[in-house]
């Protein structure tokens, strides 16, 4: 008898078997990376809806982002281009100037109740319009809470699609942004919004 060596196989066969598994599986979170003018976006979706959109370059990269979701929501995470496809399509249309509102179910799991109020009010701001932090705070019945509103927006888990870039500082000044001011500028340019100088 010769020595008992592990059997040889083509790694492509194992990769194909893994793809077949992933295609039929029902993960708690499906993700894919969507490219656009604001850089690569990591899009994460649950059966309830869109859970998170992350600027890959600002959030420590794909592994860091997925590790965070594994620890906070569920480790049952799989790459699924097909599940993310409707989001990719709407983002592509938006970036190409052919879409002014998103029509996607949202999963608010990663938000607090206060943040949810703020982000729902933000999601209702039409394309090409802006509001101030104070206006949003007043709209959700918390007129004194413009600072807390700013914090809630800074932690928006679904940027671009929940358009926190449409919130400006008082006097129409650009203000800060979770994805950096250059991206805020780019998104507002895309929507034809001009802002006062900082």
């Amino acid at each position: 008898m010769t020595t008992l060596r592990p059997p040889a196989f083509d790694p492509a066969d194992a990769a194909a078997a893994a793809r077949r598994f992933a295609a039929a599986a029902e993960p708690d979170i499906a993700y894919d990376v969507v490219d656009g003018p604001v850089g690569p976006l990591v899009v994460a979706i649950t059966p309830r809806g869109l859970l998170q959109v992350s600027y890959e370059e600002l959030r420590g990269g794909l592994d860091e982002i997925l590790g965070g979701l594994a620890a906070t929501v569920s480790p049952r995470i799989l790459e699924r281009r097909d599940v993310v496809e409707p989001v990719r399509r709407e983002l592509d249309e938006y970036f190409a100037g052919r879409r002014t509102r998103f029509d996607l179910p949202l999963d608010w799991t990663l938000t607090t109740p206060f943040q949810r109020d703020v982000l729902r009010a933000t999601a209702a701001i039409p394309f090409g319009e802006t509001r101030s932090y104070g206006q949003i705070a007043a709209q959700i019945g918390r007129p004194g809470a413009s600072r807390a509103t700013g914090t809630a927006l800074g932690r928006n888990p679904i940027p671009v699609i929940v358009p926190c870039h449409r919130i400006l500082r008082g006097g129409g000044v650009l203000g800060s942004y979770t994805g950096g001011v250059e991206r805020k500028r780019l998104l507002l340019d895309l929507e034809g919004v001009t802002t006062a100088r900082d």
Partner: protein, 159 residues
């Protein structure tokens, strides 16, 4: 912390595939692979963070292989075993075929010996990990592998 399942799948697909080719043969490997990862994903959130992921998933694959052999024992289908090629001028492909014939002989061993040998030599687990996978003592795992190898030497002619 346990990694996202996609990373786990990326890292473990080859060890699991290799193990299953040995444990159930090339034709049944894909079906057992699917069943292994379906079971792994179901159990995944309950996995202890300090677990050895390869030993864990090979334990599951080992159970799927055992299920496969039990089902085949109930509904036997004739399978043609590969013919060993002549002993002269062998290409690497023919050597792989030799290995396949050897693993086919392993699959014909009694269940405990088959399980211990496939986990140890195709899964590359330690005797201790094999023992944990089979729910037996380390001594018993060693003994099963040893007896299986002894029997193989008697049954498989030296080329």
């Amino acid at each position: 912390m346990i990694p996202p399942f996609q990373r786990f799948l990326d890292e473990q697909r080859e060890p699991v595939y290799r193990f299953l080719i040995a444990a159930v043969g090339r034709d049944a490997a894909d079906d057992c692979f699917q069943e292994t990862f379906i079971a792994a994903m179901n159990a995944y959130p309950r996995l202890r963070p300090d677990s050895n992921l390869r030993a864990w998933v090979l334990t599951i694959a080992g159970r799927k292989a055992t299920d496969h052999h039990r089902a085949r024992a109930r509904h036997p289908v004739p399978v043609a075993e590969p013919e060993p090629p002549p002993a002269t001028t062998r290409s690497p492909d023919e050597l792989a075929l030799d290995d396949d014939a050897l693993w086919a002989a392993v699959r014909a061993l009694p269940p405990k010996q088959r399980a211990a040998i496939t986990l140890r030599y195709a899964g590359d687990l330690s005797h201790r990990q094999v023992a944990e996978a089979l729910g037996c003592s380390e001594d018993a795992a060693r003994r099963s592998a040893h007896e299986g190898l002894k029997r193989l030497r008697q049954e498989v002619p030296v080329p």
